[in-house]
């Protein structure tokens, strides 16, 4: 009788206790950045990135986000620009092939809007970053999307005379839309 009650309690508790693990569906997911060039929007994407997420919208505090990005997969749809941004003054693909975002502090703003506070590692710089996102899930699939603005100077993206912001703007907008499937 006591055991039965315990099992029942356990069964009821499982949906709350178990923060789900999510895997990203790469072809359906996008990670974009929008720089500005001579006051004109200059959009790009990272083609190669991955996200592993542990998240339960009912219990965001237990969540965790790990994103890795292959910097050399940056594509600004121009052969000339793609070549230039790999250089040491920009992303420096050779020395910093990978960027990452790790967050283990997630809180609800309201409804399905959340904020993940974590660390962005980019070009050897680690900086605390708050990433707002909207989470929608249904059964085994979820979508996580959001937008934030970073200062390229904080990460040494554009050094030397490129630190001037009149030609290449200071702000870079990041937009992401991740399609996730429940793992395991």
């Amino acid at each position: 009788m006591r055991i039965a009650a315990f099992v029942l309690l356990l069964a009821a508790a499982i949906p709350f206790a178990q923060a789900a693990d999510w895997k990203m569906d790469p072809p359906a997911s996008r990670l974009e950045f929008v720089a500005s060039f001579e006051k004109t929007a200059a959009p790009g994407v990272f083609k190669d990135f991955d996200a592993r997420i542990r998240f339960d919208a009912g219990k965001p505090e237990g969540g965790q986000i790990d994103v890795t990005i292959r910097t050399a997969s940056a594509d600004m749809s121009s052969a000339d620009i793609n070549k230039a941004i790999g250089g040491p003054e920009w992303f420096d693909f050779a020395r910093y092939p990978q960027a990452a975002f790790h967050a283990a502090e997630i809180r609800r703003v309201d409804g399905n809007r959340f904020v993940a506070r974590g660390t962005l590692s980019l070009k050897g710089v680690q900086q605390a970053v708050e990433v707002p996102f909207v989470w929608t899930d249904a059964a085994d699939a979820a979508t996580m999307e959001g937008e934030l603005t970073l200062q390229r100077a904080a990460f040494g993206i554009g050094t030397g005379e490129w630190t001037a912001t009149n030609v290449i703007g200071a702000d870079v907008k990041i937009r992401f839309r991740l399609k996730l499937r429940k793992a395991g």
Partner: protein, 182 residues
């Protein structure tokens, strides 16, 4: 005097001639400097100027050709040899063709290279071809070849004008000068 007549150019024709002469010379200088400048913010800014002037020249060239077709051109002096008349006609035709084809080929380069660009930092320029490295390289070669042709025709044009003035001592050069129309 607005319209051209058989022996003089009207004010609009002179305006087009000298404004575009100044723009084209500035454009040549900008193109050479921007093309050879090491990659830097200044290079990108020089290119915005070059591309913006190019689009201005293209618009002015279209207006100018329209004006030229709707007007007669002053006659060449009596005694101009048939070969000189043919050379004048051919070089003027080439100059008009180059005023259109040089900016157009530059526009193709910009579109194919897919570099974000707004004319004078204000007006977005639509792409006329899809982004493609091979197209960009080909159009850049065409742009350079047309520039070399333009340089040759300009030398002939300026040389001929000076020859009319100083050797043949006629008014072909003088009648294009502002305020010196007959």
């Amino acid at each position: 005097m607005l319209r051209n007549d058989t022996d003089s150019w009207g004010t609009p024709a002179k305006f087009f001639h000298w404004v575009m002469a100044a723009l084209i010379l500035a454009q040549i200088a900008l193109g050479l400097v921007a093309g050879n400048w090491p990659l830097s913010p200044l290079k990108l800014t020089l290119f915005v100027w070059h591309k913006s002037l190019g689009m201005l020249i293209l618009a002015l060239a279209a207006l100018r050709i329209g004006w030229r077709l709707g007007n007669l051109a002053p006659a060449l002096p009596d005694g101009t040899a048939p070969w000189e008349r043919r050379a004048a006609q051919a070089s003027h035709f080439l100059l008009y063709a180059l005023m259109i084809s040089l900016p157009l080929s530059g526009w193709v380069v910009n579109s194919a290279a897919n570099v974000p660009f707004q004319i004078f930092w204000a007006i977005p320029l639509p792409a006329i071809v899809a982004p493609d490295k091979a197209t960009a390289d080909l159009a850049a070669l065409a742009h350079l070849s047309l520039f070399i042709l333009l340089s040759a025709v300009l030398v002939a044009h300026i040389g001929a004008a000076l020859r009319h003035h100083f050797v043949k001592r006629n008014d072909v050069l003088a009648r294009m000068l502002p305020g010196l129309g007959r």
